[in-house]
Subunit: 295 residues, 4 copies
């Protein structure tokens, strides 16, 4: 069985690494948090003293870090890439700027290290359940080599294109998600203010041309749907600040390509306004509270 170096054991990385251990892989883990490391050791992993230590002797390297600067900091500025043997498969599962992903890809390729960018969706619940979605950028051969491992952590695997394409696709998807979540919130507020019942309106729009994932799986109006954050005071789920980060990546990508993203831009600014009011840790469907009239 292969040895996997796993760097970054946060809310997502921790349960992902645990699923690899359950599947029988040897995992050499590193994180700055000793508590996170303790947890993975308790689950059967090996504690590495540093990222360099983690990759020594590993056939696969997985990283799951918060942002572009951490990924560039690890592989490039921190020169981890120089400690990785040619032929070792590198999978970065962080959500970062496509440009950053491409930089790391290029340096890896120059050293004969196959790499994929494989950002995920599905949240901490999906990480724990092993039902994440991976959106992969990189060569098909590298994705195929990664697939058996990805399948231990997730159930949907998409190939978006070459280096960085996984990041681009995830960013586009999440911008669209923010847009239809806000649009759904606006439609519900408008309907309720004009006398409709939010559940009745949701049921109509869900199966009509207004239909979208927010209505189907994640209704933002409290009480319309059970077992969604809106029905537990917007706790859990995908946080406002994480959506704000992803919308920031979308704006950066739009600026790089001089693309027009009118609704994406308004969405980003509404999430910034909402976060600035102390809602950064709430679920992103709480944007309903910004749209809906309340003192």
């Amino acid at each position: 069985m292969q040895t996997i170096a796993f760097i970054g054991l946060g809310h997502m990385g921790g349960p992902m690494a645990a699923n690899l251990l359950k599947a029988g892989y040897a995992v050499r883990a590193f994180d700055l948090s000793q508590a996170s490391l303790d947890a993975i050791v308790a689950a059967g992993g090996t504690r590495a003293a540093s990222a360099q230590d983690a990759v020594a002797g590993a056939q696969v390297v997985i990283s799951m870090l918060p942002a572009s600067q951490h990924v560039e900091g690890l592989y490039l500025d921190g020169k981890l890439i120089e400690s990785i043997l040619p032929g070792t498969l590198v999978m970065d599962c962080s959500t970062i700027a496509p440009e950053s992903a491409r930089k790391v890809h290029a340096v890896a390729a120059a050293r004969g290290i196959p790499m994929i960018d494989a950002p995920v969706s599905g949240g901490t619940a999906g990480a724990a359940a092993g039902t994440l979605t991976f959106i992969v950028g990189g060569e098909v051969a590298n994705l195929e080599r990664a697939r058996p491992i990805l399948e231990k952590m997730g159930k949907n695997i998409f190939h978006a294109g070459g280096a960085g394409a996984g990041q681009v696709a995830k960013i586009c998807n999440n911008m669209l998600l923010a847009i239809h979540m806000i649009g759904t919130s606006e439609a519900l507020s408008l309907g309720v203010a004009n006398g409709l019942d939010p559940k009745v309106l949701s049921d109509i729009m869900r199966v009509s041309s207004g239909g979208n994932w927010s209505l189907e799986k994640y209704n933002p109006w409290p009480g319309v749907m059970e077992n969604v954050p809106a029905s537990r005071e917007y706790e859990g789920g995908f946080g406002v600040d994480l959506m704000l980060k992803d919308l920031g990546l979308a704006m950066e990508a739009a600026m790089a390509s001089k693309s027009a993203t009118l609704l994406g831009g308004v969405a980003r600014n509404l999430y910034a306004m909402h976060s600035g009011r102390g809602n950064g840790k709430k679920d992103f469907s709480s944007i309903q509270q910004l749209i809906e009239k309340m003192p």
Copy 2:
């Protein structure tokens, strides 16, 4: 079999009336266009000399008109309501302001005339095929009386609430439709500008959290999906100017209720900009052409 007065035989009303004839109803039709009247007479209908003439002796009155002023003009200013016998069922299938619908409801109710507002979605294709969706406002008993007739023209019938609620629900739905159509266009433009294939990106987002009706049924990028307006130069379908009209109704409703519809407002203005460039008759998915860079 009941006699139905049918007023307004345009692109939608014509085929709707034809389906009622096919189902065996007697239809007394009126329209200002003789050509439209000729067509319905050829299909077995009776030509009425005026709206008043049409309703004489009918058990049911259906109207399908372009805008609020026509409906108010017909029933109230034109005093048609005074020619309709108490107990006659009135169904207005036009898409109009909820306030206008409620005015007509109130006058009808005062005269003992049961009424529903029953705006449709599904376009001219749905009207011809008898597969429209009706979103109904009014009392349940009146909807149940209308149901056998509606089922000859459509396949989905929703009860949105009391008088005017059908209009509110349709307006909310179409605002949300415009938002996710533009959002989808922005996501596709952003992805393609950053190197992705539009079909691959569409396939990923469709089954991910970005999923929505525009991606599922009506992809706006030319060539991604067969048999949609985007793949025939945006011909047919639901026109830009019709969407602009519905977004105008949404803005009016938002002003009446002092609701905040940020994305809805931007959507309305982008469709106005697009229409102003000579695209009013194109399908509404052609908003992709406004978003996408092109000289």
Copy 3:
């Protein structure tokens, strides 16, 4: 000296009528509020029992009412126009929809009654001080006949064009005002969040290409400028709900002409959001509080 019928003695109309009395005009006043009527009688005016009573024997009629429906209600539905003698000059100083203004103009013209629409800016302080600005629509000859009277209530008089043009110009101006007020708020928030002093930044932008009336006369950041609402907790001045009403008129005008007003639309929706949080009575520069991060 002429007798002037003055209808509508609210926060604006009351002091305007008082200035006419000071200038020696005979004023026959009507308002639904007895307290308002008492005040104008105390200032030397005559109490009329109704609008019809007020116009009897007057050479000039001035109305100052809240919204389109009141003006149409008064002159058209209430048939006041039938009580006004041909040749009597009618000045409507309300801010209403251009379409409503044109309707009243048309009916007046048909009866040989010269009319101008003359909406004002300058707020209650300007009304009291007699320093209002009048933006006038109608024939030049009618404006010239009105000028001596307008000059008793204001100091700037603009001729915008024909019937309704005063309303159009005021609506355009106030939409632009809302846009640069919000823009100024955004620039100040952005600068302060990035380390600048709001007064220093205001001073720089005021004399640079960012310069605008909000920076010059009405800085929205508390403490930057003395004697403005921002420095007294946004009390007094021009209320959020009044701006919201004017932006609603702008949106209606944009819909009538199919114009694209992207920033105007966002401005309208931000004011709706701000009003919906209980700020309707605050000065409109309090939009700074919506833009600025605060819990």
Copy 4:
């Protein structure tokens, strides 16, 4: 007289350096373009073989470069800062990200090199005429040392605050400029579509509460004002792509500080849309052509 190293002789830098020569300074110039260097040598300057060569023996270093990456590339990656003697005054007049400016400030400070960031406004005409505005970030003592030199190139000098503050203030100002330019365009389009004369409406709004620099100095409607780009088919002036760049800097700053810039975001996206239609080189007031209905 002091020797000034001048790096970057483009449309702005060239005439700025020429003004220093006219004022009697010795200028050691460097640019990648030989033609630009030839021009400055013809004006009395000295040709340097490299940036390092230019700063050798200079008491002052001025840089005027297109973007953040060029300034960081020059001083930091290109290590020019190591060739500059302690005590030499460095003025970077480029418009760049505040964060980039602060990075260079910090490295300079660590080596005992006083520095100011001094982005300009006033365009190429102002650069030629020596009437630029400088918005300066850095210590007051350094600004005072720079002042005699800045006064040879401009007439207004503002101190915005510490390191990077000049950039922040310029970015805020230009975002506000874009907003009131678009707002003015929207107001003019709305007014004209509703029957007003653009010059009459401009005159009214200019002296009313809608007043702003765009109306005062730079009316975007063709023919309203002489000697502005709108009256010469939007040629000359401040280009769309330059405004798009500055709005990109504003968005980056907003993302760094999690600020909400709703109108700024829409402005950025409208300029992107306008640029994407082949208008990148036109004057930025040509946004009127995007707002105004035209096929």
